[in-house]
């Protein structure tokens, strides 16, 4: 086993969704004979079902490989897998910071996509050497030459070597491995300097607490050593150090250039934040590694169990999930309409969707999730600034000076034939045009600024449908900007249904209110009295409709043969009634809320 720092290569694989990142990783694992054929499952690094199904990697992982070159050289490869979605871009950037190089995978048929560009930018920011891989050349629709042309248009890739591969049949992978040795520099740093280790991930284990994945930038760490997390200056004693092969395997120490893990009795993962620096507590480094930031949720929604009895299961599930995902936040709340639930915060829409699915799948909890909201910065007249993530908690309008909302830079890569449709959509969502570039004759890259709020509802689906599935997008939050925003409340029989309140641009309030009122009218069953449904801004009603009183609910025929069947019908009707939620005097089936929240 090589031990010299010159023989280590630390790298990541980055790619747009479905371009073959995990399959490439599998082939690399095979060729380095790190794991046996018997152990091999497709996409070894992704071990959550959901990751397999969605074809994305949610949490980053690492694996240590031994590679022997044909001329007898031996190298240690540390492959750090990264999450493949914009919601996790901070995690991606920290994983990249633990590397010296990256393999950028591009689908030979689909070409450069929005995330490809975002990935390149992130890799360049971390000064990585990039090796380009045009993958899936086995496809009949593959067009590597076109992809080469597209790559030329991306700044910063001029000196990167390009390889053609088929991860499916293994073509080109060996060449990539040799390129890793040749093009990716070995780590630098000194074993004699005080310890500096970058945390790029952590997982929770009920026996050992938080297990920290790290890259040693300087110095050495071993069990028994006193260490400190630099963001909060807390001190711990290392209990175990190890590497990934690919399962965790104890080693005596980790030294400069190494990628591995350590445990030190961290009670939970909020103590081991991604991007933080671990140092020697006795001889601390003077400097933290750059790039650390506190990650806060940007998208919030309320989640309620469909069955009231599931509340405690939901609470337990959220506790469990947040053990391994410090980006989830949750707070108990209650609603007259939906019962007891939680206000939850996420890194983005995909993150939210994944958590909702995991709750439903792994914990078998059926959920009602409210429309997601961004975090608004409300500037009050008394100069106080408050952040709200729930429209219903917006203060009285006469106390508000102005409201700011998060803006994003949106990048869409698309066939140019769809430019008109997509631009129209984005403009309708308050988009501000920033840039348009052609990647080749018929593909373009479009950049807009727009409020994050505008992509919360029905945006991805619209993009996909307008572009027939060919557009890809990526975004990042850039800043907060003041907007003429207003809160709309929905009233059912004069009672505000707080879960249906929303904040939106003044010009869009009427339209959206009217739609919501009409939707509600169709899903609220008729009661024994007229039920007015209203939308209001402050005290002004801007839309209304009425669910007329139920007058007739009668079974005409009931003779000898009918009784059992009629009774069953009534029992069913009654069971439905029992499940209804009450808003004031009005009984509303939960499905009604669900369908309104969906339609929205």
């Amino acid at each position: 086993m090589p031990t010299r720092i010159e023989d280590i290569r630390n790298f990541s694989i980055i790619a747009h969704i479905d371009h073959g990142k995990s399959t490439i990783a599998d082939r690399i694992l095979e060729l380095t004979e790190t794991i046996s054929e018997r152990e091999r499952r497709n996409q070894v690094l992704d071990d959550m079902d959901l990751e397999r199904e969605k074809g994305i990697t949610i949490k980053s992982k690492a694996v240590r490989l031994l590679y022997k070159t044909d001329n007898g050289g031996q190298y240690i490869f540390n492959l750090i897998d990264t999450p493949g979605h914009v919601d996790f871009s901070y995690e991606v950037s920290r994983s990249l910071a633990a590397c010296e190089g990256a393999l950028l995978v591009i689908d030979a048929a689909q070409g450069v996509q929005a995330q490809t560009i975002a990935n390149v930018q992130m890799a360049l920011e971390n000064n990585l050497n990039i090796i380009l891989i045009i993958n899936k050349i086995d496809l009949s629709t593959a067009n590597p030459e076109r992809v080469r042309e597209e790559i030329k248009k991306i700044k910063g890739l001029e000196n990167s070597p390009i390889f053609l591969t088929s991860a499916k049949d293994g073509r080109g992978i060996k060449e990539v491995l040799d390129a890793i040795v040749q093009y990716i520099p070995h780590p630098r740093g000194s074993g004699d300097k005080p310890l500096q280790a970058l945390i790029f991930d952590s997982v929770y284990n009920s026996y050992q607490g938080s297990i920290v994945y790290l890259r040693i930038v300087n110095g050495t760490v071993k069990p028994g050593m006193k260490i400190q997390t630099m963001s909060n200056k807390k001190t711990y004693e290392v209990t175990e150090t190890g590497i990934f092969s690919p399962k965790r395997k104890k080693v005596d120490q980790l030294s400069v250039g190494d990628v591995g893990y350590l445990t030190a009795g961290f009670k939970d993962i909020t103590l081991t934040k991604v991007g933080d620096t671990i140092t020697d507590a006795i001889h601390p480094s003077e400097q933290r590694l750059p790039g650390y930031k506190k990650v806060s949720p940007v998208v919030f929604c309320s989640m309620y169990p469909v069955e009231n009895d599931d509340y405690h299961n939901l609470k337990y599930a959220l506790e469990k999930l947040s053990l391994n995902d410090s980006a989830i936040s949750y707070m108990a709340e209650s609603s007259p309409a939906l019962g007891f639930g939680f206000r939850c915060g996420f890194l983005g829409l995909l993150h939210m969707e994944i958590i909702q699915e995991r709750l439903e799948r792994e914990y078998q909890i059926q959920l009602i999730a409210t429309t997601p909201s961004v975090v608004y910065r409300v500037h009050l007249k008394d100069k106080e600034i408050i952040e709200i993530n729930n429209p219903s908690s917006l203060p009285e309008v006469n106390t508000i000076d102005f409201i700011e909302e998060p803006f994003i830079e949106l990048t869409v890569v698309l066939p140019s034939q769809f430019l008109g449709g997509i631009m129209e959509l984005v403009q309708d969502r308050r988009g501000i045009f920033k840039n348009l570039e052609y990647l080749d004759q018929d593909r373009a890259r479009l950049v807009y600024y727009l409020p994050l709020n505008e992509i919360m509802l029905d945006f991805y689906d619209r993009i996909k449908s307008i572009s027939k599935g060919y557009a890809s997008l990526d975004y990042q939050i850039i800043n907060y900007q003041a907007s003429p925003l207003t809160k709309v409340d929905l009233l059912v029989n004069q009672d505000v249904v707080d879960n249906l309140s929303f904040i939106c641009h003044k010009d869009k309030a009427h339209e959206r209110a009217r739609k919501l009122v009409e939707n509600l009218k169709t899903v609220i069953p008729r009661q024994m009295f007229d039920v007015p449904i209203q939308a209001k801004i402050n005290q002004k009603i801007i839309a209304r409709s009425t669910v007329r009183a139920l007058k007739k609910d009668v079974l005409a025929k009931c003779y000898g043969g009918d009784i059992t069947r009629k009774r069953k019908l009534l029992e069913k009707q009654k069971a439905g009634k029992k499940r209804m939620k009450k808003v004031g005097k009005v009984e509303i089936p939960q499905e009604a809320f669900m369908s309104v929240l969906k339609i929205e």
Partner: protein, 381 residues
């Protein structure tokens, strides 16, 4: 010990054509032979029950369907004669037959009247040829009037006419006209049914596809309210949610159901209710005949009603009648006052204005009649 008084229902599962809204069990018979085999099976069924309940007294006979009058006159007579022969029959028994105007003529009317049928139910449904066509009836208005006048000429003194509202294409104005026409005939009894879209019927499919359009609930409600007032003005008493009659002409047989009293149902798909056990025959002609050929009762399912459910059904069924439920009746049957079982429900429904009571009875209010499902649901779990 086995002495029971029963209403007797006999199902005749044959029609000349299937109506697309109807969910009752019936088939279009391919030939007369199948009717013969059915009758033989029916005979066997009666035989088995005679041996099972030798002391049975029959209080009413109701030939329903299907369309009983698709049978020939002699076959209908044969059925009645088997009943007379095998069971003790109450003096002044009410014997009803359902008929379709297209399958009813002078000769048949005479034969069945002679055989003891004393109540005729005419499945008119509407007096508009257009609406009759819309709902797939095989007869027209002229045939309705013919049937009615034939029955009168033969001597029937107790005639019911079935009427429907909320039909596809029906307007309030059209319905009013039908009301006028029916009272001019002056039948003793009128059954008024709102069209309901039943599962498994062709109408259900058409309705779901949006091809079939029926009047809104509000219009159907207006028709129903109009009919109640209109019939009242002409001396018809609404004695049940869907039934109106001149004084003294309530249907005895159907009141057995609503009083939750025992009845025996014969024939395919029929239901019986004897001593808190409800059982139902197979709704499959071959199965029904095959089992009886082998001397096995063709019972498909059996349900023993727990006390609480029997109580609930007793309340619900009685409340279908405008007279409602006699408080003394409940005590006589269950040995406890109704208030000790359903106090909360009774209170709530009274507060909602759906139910009322006086010294002797609980009964639906006018509002409660139209919202009776909401009332009935309260008594169920």
């Amino acid at each position: 010990m086995n002495f029971i008084k029963l209403g007797l229902y006999i199902h005749i599962p044959f029609c000349n054509a299937k109506c697309p809204y109807c969910s009752f069990f019936s088939i279009v018979a391919e030939n007369e032979l199948i009717k013969r085999s059915y009758l033989d099976a029916l005979k066997k069924e009666i035989n088995i029950y005679r041996q099972k309940y030798p002391e049975t007294v029959i209080r009413s006979i109701y030939l329903g369907g299907g369309t009983p009058t698709t049978l020939s006159g002699p076959l209908i007579v044969e059925i009645l004669e088997i009943c007379y022969k095998n069971f003790k029959i109450d003096k002044d028994i009410e014997i009803t037959i359902e008929s379709n105007p297209a399958t009813f003529d002078f000769k048949k009317a005479g034969i069945i009247f002679q055989a003891g049928v004393n109540r005729l139910s005419i499945g008119a449904q509407s007096f508009s040829n257009k609406l009759l066509k819309n709902i797939g009836r095989i007869h027209d208005k002229k045939e309705i009037l013919n049937s009615y006048h034939i029955a009168r000429a033969i001597g029937f003194k107790n005639i019911n006419i079935d009427l429907m509202f909320g039909l596809p294409g029906q307007t309030i104005r059209q319905f009013n006209k039908t009301l006028e026409e029916i009272v001019q005939l002056h039948p003793e009894h009128i059954s008024l049914y709102g069209l309901s879209i039943e599962p498994g019927t062709p109408f259900e499919k058409l309705f779901e596809k949006g091809i079939l359009k029926i009047p809104s609930d509000d219009i159907a409600y207006a028709m129903y309210q109009k009919a109640i007032d209109f019939f009242n003005n002409y001396g018809y008493e609404q004695y049940e949610i869907s039934n109106f009659a001149l004084p003294g002409k309530y249907c005895f047989h159907n009141r057995i159901y609503w009083k939750n009293q025992p009845y025996l149902g014969l024939g395919a798909s029929s239901t019986s209710y004897i001593k808190n056990i409800r059982f139902k025959n197979f709704s499959d002609l071959n199965q029904y005949i095959y089992l009886l050929v082998n001397n096995i009762l063709p019972i498909e399912s059996k349900e023993i009603l727990p006390l609480k459910e029997e109580m609930a059904e007793t309340v619900i069924l009685h409340l279908r009648m405008m007279e409602g439920l006699a408080k003394s009746e409940f005590i006589a049957r269950f040995k406890v006052p109704i208030e000790s079982v359903f106090a909360e429900q009774l209170k709530r429904l009274k507060e909602q204005g759906l139910l009322d009571d006086n010294e002797s009875h609980y009964f639906l209010t006018r509002k409660g009649i139209s919202l009776s499902n909401i009332v009935f649901m309260e008594f169920l779990d």
